[in-house]
């Protein structure tokens, strides 16, 4: 690799090797455990739908019933389809309803019953996976028909009213104003719900609940906008929190295009148990791989709690780990929206050059990934004028370093949820910079041995050192000790641990069998 930074190819290869060494034990952990959310995702793919009158989804009721009778470690597919045959029911949702009423007993089937129930569950889940395949083919068809945005980066805008019926016109207006990707921010706290709410929702806190129906409504609205605008407008949501696998399944079923999905975000920022997160994450990424969804990782978050200069290398390390876990789960490079952010304190001398060095390093380390470039938040204040200037520099760095997805920064970050006018001003800012300097990356070649090259080499060097230290112990220990983003998260603590189980010898998961059998 002889790019603009003159990175040492041996060192880059070493970094990847070390990331694999640090990640491999975690993958092993993920392959030998399951979680309630993985099992619920399997049931969703098998066709269980809807919720009880209290709003608790039938997949939750069904998994809880199976766990109460036989535990989680066998996987729920075989016990559920065994019971379905014994009860002579045709519909798994009906079985869930009976199970919730306490009128079904679950067993771990053995012998011929085991073979039959496995085969039946595989057939049902395969039908769900086929639906995901059809939605992916549909996306490819629509992209061909309407076209992709004419230039990179894609412009990514956030909508977050709490009410899906308010979000829809706002999202359509944003698309008309130039957004290529719309993200519907989730309600604060949804990541800690151990179930996926049902139906269209009109109340949320600083965001809108992610539900299958909300996904469907928004995708349909953006299809309308795509037709109107002559470019395919992408929809983004979150496969994070306690229901990561189910979110991935629902996103695949409703043709979402990008999903926030980070390997460590839930652990560090939501205090979700590390094992739960890694197990859920692997399954969700397998689903994303199949669905042709681009994941967006969350490295920007580290820099909101840690210093963007001192901790720049932790971003690189996390990107390398995210890449390793993503490849292992079957995602291709074009699906890796690896995150990073413009968060260097603007009062630091040469802050713009530091940003350029960091952004270019990510670009050159991951040449085929559509990097996700995140705007300043930490150093945004109520001074909206200065904020708009900062956002302009952020846009410039994005243009100079060939970022794939640009999240539009708002000058009122840290002041209010964006107003209509804030969004308009922000888009003007983006359009001006991309219009005036969109091709400047051709001319932008940092001086050999100069400040930017040196800084990039330094960050890569620190990243390799950190990976070496992690490799000597393990990634779980490193997280436990607070290596990333300051927070200390031991493996035996955190939310959702009670929903994790080690595989029994006869663990069966038809979804994983299908997704892994398919290859990448």
């Amino acid at each position: 690799m002889t790019g603009k930074l003159d990175l040492d190819p041996v060192l880059v290869a070493r970094a990847r090797e070390l990331a694999a060494r640090a990640g491999a034990p975690v993958v092993e952990l993920a392959r030998s455990h399951t979680t309630v959310s993985v099992e619920r995702a399997v049931l969703r793919l098998a066709g269980v739908q809807g919720a009880d009158p209290d709003g608790i989804p039938w997949v939750n009721r069904l998994v809880d019933a199976v766990v109460a009778d036989v535990g989680l470690g066998h996987g729920v597919a075989a016990p559920v389809f065994d019971a379905l045959a014994r009860e002579q029911l045709a519909d798994v949702t009906l079985l869930a309803q009976k199970a919730a009423a306490g009128s079904v007993r679950f067993e771990v089937p053995a012998g011929r019953a085991a073979t039959a129930s496995r085969r039946a569950s595989r057939r049902a889940v395969a039908a769900g996976v086929r639906r995901i395949d059809r939605r992916r083919a549909e996306r490819e068809r629509l992209v061909r028909r309407f076209g992709d945005p004419r230039r990179r980066p894609w412009i990514y805008l956030i909508v977050a009213t709490g009410d899906i019926f308010e979000d829809v016109p706002q999202a359509q207006a944003a698309a008309r104003a130039g957004a290529d990707a719309i993200a519907v921010i989730r309600s604060t706290g949804q990541s800690l719900l151990d179930y996926v709410p049902e139906g269209a929702t009109r109340e949320g806190f600083a965001g809108t609940y992610a539900t299958q129906e909300n996904f469907r409504l928004m995708r349909a609205a953006l299809d309308e906008s795509s037709r109107e605008l002559g470019r395919y407008v992408r929809l983004t949501n979150y496969a994070s929190g306690l229901c990561m696998p189910e979110m991935a399944a629902l996103a695949g079923l409703e043709r979402l295009d990008m999903m926030l999905n980070d390997s460590m975000y839930g652990i560090l920022f939501r205090d979700i148990n590390p094992i739960r997160t890694f197990v859920d994450q692997r399954f969700s990424r397998q689903v994303h791989a199949r669905a042709g969804i681009i994941i967006n990782t969350g490295e920007d978050n580290y820099l909101t709690t840690a210093d963007a200069v001192d901790e720049a290398h932790t971003v690189t390390v996390s990107q390398l780990l995210n890449e390793y876990f993503a490849h292992e789960a079957g995602l291709a490079d074009w699906q890796l929206g690896l995150g990073h952010a413009f968060e260097v304190n603007p009062d630091v001398p040469e802050s713009l050059r530091l940003e350029l060095a960091h952004a270019l390093l990510a670009r050159e380390l991951f040449p085929d990934a559509p990097l996700k470039w995140m705007p300043p938040t930490k150093h945004m204040t109520g001074d909206v004028f200065r904020g708009n200037l900062l956002d302009g520099f952020f846009n410039l760095v994005g243009a100079l370093t060939g970022q794939g997805i640009l999240l539009v920064g708002m000058m009122t970050e840290a002041v209010v949820t964006p107003w209509l006018s804030d969004r308009d001003i922000a888009l003007q800012n983006v359009r001006y910079v991309l219009g005036a300097a969109g091709g400047l990356h051709e001319d932008f070649v940092p001086a050999s041995g100069g400040f930017i090259q040196q800084r990039a080499h330094q960050v890569l060097g620190s990243a390799v050192e950190l990976l070496e230290r992690i490799g000597e112990r393990s990634l779980l220990t490193a997280i436990g000790e607070g290596t990333f983003g300051i927070m200390k998260r031991p493996a035996d603590r955190g939310r959702g641990l009670d929903g994790v189980a080690r595989h029994e010898g006869d663990y069966y998961n038809p979804a994983v069998e299908i997704l892994e059998g398919a290859g990448s």
Binding site: A177, S191, F205, F269, D271, D307, L420, S421
Partner: protein, 254 residues
């Protein structure tokens, strides 16, 4: 030496004393045309801006127009009638805080902090508590004589109360950023009620809330001891803790 008396009545300053010039921007739900511009001037007039200069009008989407208006505002500000919460305690350095705690409390001062309710924005509580601190100033974890337990985001009120009991908290710090539907106010009231239920009167820990959207004068209404707003530093919080828990109490009992 002559002392220039502080002016009591002032007007906004554009480029000459007393010119009263202000600049505002807003959006009206009207398509951009002459009428919309007239409407913007009318609004500016009602805000006390006269004459109002409409310097920028820009259509946004369907049926909205963004305006920037400059003009002379005819209101006067009487600084004598301004009511704010001034800092009523001395600002101490980390060293001084440690010294007071060590000498006068003779044990570690226990602080429990969290974001309560559904609020996941730990930026505020972390800035105050984490060693990392904010703007180059170290957080309370850095203070040797403080024992800090940061429970992080989305902590339930009962869990916070339980943790405060377990840690024998001298003070409970809560940060609230999300303000949609006044969530920050509801959560704070819930906390103050729970704390009053859990401890006998006079024995409860000091209750401190912080966040960018709190009105610092609402302490009584919310049932807390102190509210810290935007821009609060760890040293201010630490100094307040020492003042409220140690120095002012001793002064009262001596």
């Amino acid at each position: 030496m002559t002392v220039v008396p502080e002016k009591q009545v002032v007007r906004p300053y554009g480029d000459t004393t007393g010119d009263g010039m202000v600049q505002v921007s807003f959006t009206l739900p009207l398509p951009h045309d002459k009428r919309a511009e007239g409407a913007a001037i009318q609004l500016a007039g009602k805000m006390g801006i006269d004459p109002a200069m409409l310097v920028h009008a820009r259509p946004m989407g369907d049926g909205f127009t963004f305006f920037v208006v400059y003009g002379r505002v005819n209101h006067l500000v009487d600084t004598a009638a301004v009511r704010v919460v001034e800092r009523d305690f001395p600002l101490l350095s980390a060293k001084e805080v440690n010294a007071v705690v060590k000498r006068q409390l003779r044990r570690k001062l226990s602080v429990v902090g969290a974001c309560i309710g559904t609020d996941a924005h730990t930026v505020g509580i972390d800035a105050i508590l984490n060693v990392k601190g904010v703007a180059g100033e170290k957080g309370l974890e850095y203070y040797r004589e403080l024992r800090v337990s940061n429970l992080g985001a989305q902590v339930g009120v009962p869990d916070l109360v339980a943790a405060a009991r377990a840690e024998r908290a001298d003070a409970v710090l809560v940060s609230q950023v999300v303000t949609q539907r006044d969530a920050h106010l509801h959560n704070t009231r819930e906390l103050s009620a729970a704390v009053r239920e859990a401890w006998p009167a006079g024995k409860r820990p000091l209750l401190i809330v912080g966040g960018p959207r709190f009105d610092e004068a609402m302490t009584a209404e919310l049932g807390v001891d102190r509210i810290f707003g935007r821009g609060t530093t760890p040293a201010e919080v630490a100094s307040y803790l020492v003042h409220a828990l140690i120095t002012s109490r001793r002064a009262a009992t001596v």
